[in-house]
């Protein structure tokens, strides 16, 4: 999977969990939860969906490394 594909997969899952978010609203370097008003439940749903898609489990201790779209893409790229 290319980096761009990983990024697209993440975006797809965010939009699926929070259908009222438009793809253009997702700033690559902005904190996902704060900028998109995603609460902890939605955030967990996104990670759960990505775990099913990509087979990577993000432990809670790594949450700081997946705070933005950019960081999350890097995190999954390094583990695929």
């Amino acid at each position: 999977m290319t980096k761009e594909e990983i990024k697209q997969t993440i975006i797809e899952q965010i939009v699926m969990v929070a259908p009222d978010i438009e793809e253009e609203e997702i700033e690559p370097s902005a904190n996902l939860q704060r900028s998109l008003e995603i609460d902890s439940f939605d955030f967990l749903k996104v990670l759960t969906a990505l775990n099913e898609k990509l087979g990577v489990d993000v432990p809670e201790t790594d949450y700081a490394q997946v705070d933005t779209l950019e960081h999350m893409t890097d995190y999954f790229e390094a583990r695929l």
Binding site: A18, I21, L36, E37, D39, S40, L44, V58, P59, T61
Partner: protein, 393 residues
Amino acid sequence: MSEFKMPSLGADMESAVLMEWKVKEGDHVTKGQVIAEVETSKGVIEIEVFETGVVEKILVEEETECAVGTPLALIASEGEGREEAVAEAAAEPEKVPPQPEPPSKEEPLKPEPQEEERPAAEPAERVKASPAARRKARELGVDLAALAAGSDRGIQLDAVEAAAETAAKAPEADGMRQAIARAMSRSNAEIPHYYLSTSVNMTPALAWLAALNAKRSIKERILPAALLIRAVVKALEAVPELNGFWQEERHSISKTVNPGIAIALRKGGLITPALLSAETMNLDETMHSLDDLITRTRSGRLRGSEMTQQTVTITNLGDLGVERVYGVIYPPQVAIVGLGRIIDAPWAEGDALSVRKVMQATIAGDHRATDGRTGALFLERLDHFLQNPQELL
């Protein structure tokens, strides 16, 4: 024989559109069964029937807007004759709006019907518009009917936004805002609130939760919000006086704990649906039910009972970065629990000073129903459970 009426699904609701009947005339229905779906400003809500019987007659067609209290159907009790039923209904054309069934027989659970707020029942023609356009129109105060005039295709979101932009800013707040204003004014005018606050060291609970989650797959993880709500519910079981109502100069305690959970909608608005019978749930069940409740709140699939049977309110403004919440009680409830943001703060233990995860827990209580001591006992119990999180499993 009774009339099944459009229920009030919150003080800010004046009318709703009956979207779909789940039953037809002649169907047998049982108490608690979902028999219709209505669309309100809070999304689509499934409404339940509060008695067992037979649907004698459906009075309102699908896609009709009905004011709160409008008779929607006639329900005959078991064994009741049809003619008698219809005659009875015809004899009493206007009755007071219905009160949803209280969870317990002895203890009245419902707010008084606020008749003065209800417009006359007059089913209006439903304008064709997409659900998103409908919601936006409500938010922005755009008159869909006016917009629909001169166009025969359904109204889409962009049309509503365009209309709102060209319209001058509305001089008055919209209906929903005004209704909230009425409920909150009534609360502040009638309820003598007392406020108490305590600092809770959350480090032990968060460390315990992190250790628990580390052993679990991502699907089974518990969020701090669920742990906090479980702790509040356990503390309310220990101090039940705060879980109930003040009605007709009388304090009543609810046997079930149905906390209304304040859930923010991403694009504006706030709903506090009830987590029904939370006292029967363990920590995993609390997490699962809360997740389900939040998902259904945002997708507009709440039950009528979840909109009407709150026994207490929990507001957690932590996500917004607020440290301390002093709530306004939603009548006829007698308490609102506020949970603030968990911050790193200096914490003294013995003669040592360290940095801990600290949360401000507050309670606003109705001083007619309880005294500060009751609230203090509640906060003490809440703190106890958060210092001993294994008791919350």
